[in-house]
């Protein structure tokens, strides 16, 4: 399942959605707000989204991962709103019978969400400026 969260991401709750007795491996990725980007000191950032389309595109990516990889559960949550250094921006978790599929699906979901889900990052820098960041296409 793909979700958006206006509050701090609850990784433990998301992880519990991926647990099942036949799964031997679980891979998760957490994206944290860094204190630097492109040589500038970042103090905070703000994520906004086209929420309806973000949920739709995000769910579609989860379903693509389910059909492309031999996995059991896949979950992704993206944070919206104001984030500070060290806050979690995205969580992706995948359980599978075997580890390779879990790694591959987790990375696929992460990369595709970054590229396709309509969410935008606005960084706040130490010098008072802000900047809209775009991912590499």
């Amino acid at each position: 399942m793909f979700t958006l969260s206006e509050k701090a991401i609850d990784a433990a709750a998301l992880k519990s959605q991926t647990h099942d007795p036949q799964s031997g491996g679980f891979v998760c990725f957490e994206g944290w707000v860094r204190n630097h980007n492109n040589g500038k000191i970042v103090t905070a950032l703000h994520y906004s989204a086209h929420e309806k389309l973000a949920l739709q595109v995000g769910q579609d990516i989860i379903e693509q991962a389910q059909s492309r990889f031999d996995i059991n559960q896949a979950v992704c949550c993206h944070r919206l709103g104001e984030l500070l250094i060290g806050d979690m921006a995205i969580w992706v978790g995948v359980s599978a019978n075997h580890r390779r599929a879990a790694f591959e699906a987790c990375e696929f979901i992460l990369e595709t969400v970054k590229k396709e889900v309509p969410i935008w990052k606005n960084e706040h820098y130490q010098d008072g400026e802000t900047g809209w960041v775009e991912n590499d296409q």
Binding site: G31, Y47, S48, A49, H50, K52, L53, H78, A89, I90, L110, V113, K114, K115, E116, V117, P118, I119, W120, K121, W132, V133, E134, N135, Q137
Partner: protein, 81 residues
């Protein structure tokens, strides 16, 4: 002339200085023509490259036409994660 609402997202908010615009335009216009006249009016130098047009929360083609009362959106490349 018809009335529409235009929603801007991501860096387009910075570019146009606002996140939505109420707009009057002629009927039977395409999304592409609308975006170009929007850029012209706001003296914004921007191409449609990488931008996805949306009508009423659905992705559409640049050649799609819109109707009175539609909510149009322009989505720049994503930068989540």
């Amino acid at each position: 002339m018809i009335n529409i609402k235009i929603e801007l997202y991501g860096r387009l908010i910075g570019l146009f200085g606002q996140d939505h615009i109420f707009w009057q335009t002629q009927a039977n216009s395409t999304m592409k023509a609308l975006y170009q006249s929007l850029c012209q009016t706001h003296q914004v130098d921007d191409s449609i490259k990488g931008i996805k047009p949306v009508i009423n929360d659905t992705f559409v083609d640049w050649n799609n036409e819109f109707q009175s009362g539609d909510v149009l959106g322009f989505l720049p490349p994503a930068s989540g994660g």
